[in-house]
Amino acid sequence: MATDPGLERVQRWMQTCILNQGTAEEAITSEPAQAAVPADQARELVLPSKTLAPLERLDIYREMYLLRMEEALATDYPALKHFLGDDEFMRLVARFVGVYPSRSYTLNRLGDHLPEFVATLDDLPKQEFCHDLARLEFALTMVFDEAETAPLSPEAVRAVPQEAWETARLKPIAAFRLLEFNYPVSQYLGGVDEENPYPRLARKKTWVVAYRRNFQVHRLDLSAPAYALLQALSSANTVGDAIIGVLTSKWRPAVKQSQLFEWFRDWMAEGLFQAVELADATKTPPPPEQPENEVDEAGEESFPASDPPAWNTTVAHDHK
């Protein structure tokens, strides 16, 4: 009668051997594997084929495991792999899955902890840059998978009474991530994705908003004051407070009110917000009755420059 440790122990043994990154012999003699099936018994567990010994057959599964993990992480972190190179990236993958093996039914979430893991690896080449790059690529995967939320329409924006903007609050779409970096990682990603020139990999503060529009993931490089304004707007501050925050900050000399309006209009056009909540109401007001939406040449609704939110009044009041 062949050896049969029982289904539960066989499965625990095989999984332990697959996750073990040593040789097959090291795997079956490891403490966790032997806790499931003692090594002597394990040697009898798998039949040989005409061409392969039992441990060689086990190795097929062991080798495919790491390749599968690498493929999944390379899909989510292509620029990090590009920077590190194939061998260093594979080393990173092996170390990562040793600490964070998949616990999900989908590989889409395998890399969720990679940025924080990279932050712990002091021996990784240009570790801080890699950490920033991993954070950016992780944000892009989150934006890719987020729930779809309809962006504010031009009509909904127009329906907000001019005097209501000062105390209104904007709610970003779900597929929205605002990021601050110490390295020009968005520019680096542009080099990988679009064959743009690569930046110097020296420390440099950069700011990015990642978002999804028409089911396509986009990222927009921001200036420091634009980042500050967008962060304030997306953090449930009133529009008035967000603007005053920027106009009373160190960027005051460089930022004009007209610049703020241009940003605001661009962000609305990019669909970064899903709702505007008014101080005396809790949701977006219904759009005014209009026969048709304005449609530009690309077939997309446009935000006219002729009716900006009235925040001149807001700026004139110094709430601070």
Binding site: L7, E8, R57, Y65, R103, L107, D145, F215
Partner: protein, 292 residues
């Protein structure tokens, strides 16, 4: 409709893959149906689901999973099943399938289709889990024979009998992967035709075809190439033995253009028609056995 649930012969489909999204939405290609990898659409609200919704409006869709882990000794994952059930309802899935395998234990997932020891204990365990799963999702599932690369000494059942018995006792369907029969027959040295002979005709709701990679000492089920002639012959044999059922061509690595993949799927139609016209029973020795 040879199967007991009356699931239709959907014809000849291919797996829905993101590299073909644009082509499909733009060209509305004439194709019988699509098979969808369930897990790729469960946790996303992004483009894949948006595309799937449109595809499901235009074509019949079948859900095919890789993480059901029916043979695992871990508790059944009802969170996963809830999402699977919701997705099946959302896309009006004609049926739901996964593999006779386990993917992980102790809360982990290796994301592989790991082999079962074909023991009576494993059989009883799997039957019970399939029943639980079917009760929860309120529909029968079809279990696919996975390609395997090792055999356990403790096995007391031939794989085909193990699969057939689970299907009978749990009252579930079978997705017969003809390429996997060939791959495993090569790796383990069994007769692929005998394997097919043991599969109950009224349980088979679908067949799979795919290319593989022959490493010399063993074959890997890579879905990365055209179907080899021997597998086509085995498909003809399976068709004669089991009747016409929905057939799906899998191509998951080095994926060529849509028309190439679809063209490979349509070869199955040609082979089936040839087989239907043929008065003669196929020569058993047409299908090379182990190691050929």
């Amino acid at each position: 409709m040879a199967n007991r649930w009356g699931y239709p012969d959907l014809g000849f489909g291919i797996g829905l893959r993101s590299v073909h999204f644009e082509h499909i939405l733009k060209n509305n290609p004439t194709i019988d149906w699509f098979e969808v990898l369930s897990e790729n659409y469960m946790d996303t609200g992004g483009r894949p689901l948006h595309v799937l919704d449109q595809v499901a409006e235009r074509y019949p869709v079948v859900l095919h999973g890789v993480s059901l882990s029916v043979g695992s000794t871990d508790p059944v994952n009802f969170d996963y099943l809830k999402k699977l059930k919701n997705l099946a309802k959302r896309v009006n899935a004609r049926w739901v399938s996964d593999h006779l395998c386990w993917c992980g234990v102790t809360g982990l997932n290796t994301h592989d289709l790991l082999p079962m020891p074909y023991t009576t204990e494993a059989l009883r365990h799997t039957v019970e889990r399939v029943r639980i799963i079917q009760d929860f999702i309120e529909r029968p599932i079809a279990l696919e024979n996975a390609s395997t690369y090792l055999e356990f000494a403790a096995s007391t059942w031939p794989e085909s009998e193990f699969l057939a018995t689970i299907a009978e006792e749990a009252d579930c369907g079978i997705l017969l992967d003809v390429n996997n029969v060939y791959v495993s027959s090569f790796n383990h040295g069994f007769d692929p035709q005998e394997y097919i002979n043991r599969i109950p005709r009224d349980r088979v709701v679908q067949m799979h075809l795919a290319g593989h990679t022959n490493k010399g000492t063993h074959i890997l089920d890579t879905h990365s190439d055209y179907v080899i002639d021997t597998v086509w012959k085995l498909y003809r044999y399976a068709h004669r033995r089991l009747g016409g059922v929905a057939t799906l061509l899998e191509w998951d690595a080095n994926i060529p253009e849509f028309d190439v993949v679809h063209g490979e799927a349509l070869k199955a139609r040609t082979f089936r028609e040839q087989e239907d016209r043929s008065a003669q029973a196929p020569e058993l020795n047409e299908v090379p056995a182990y190691g050929d």
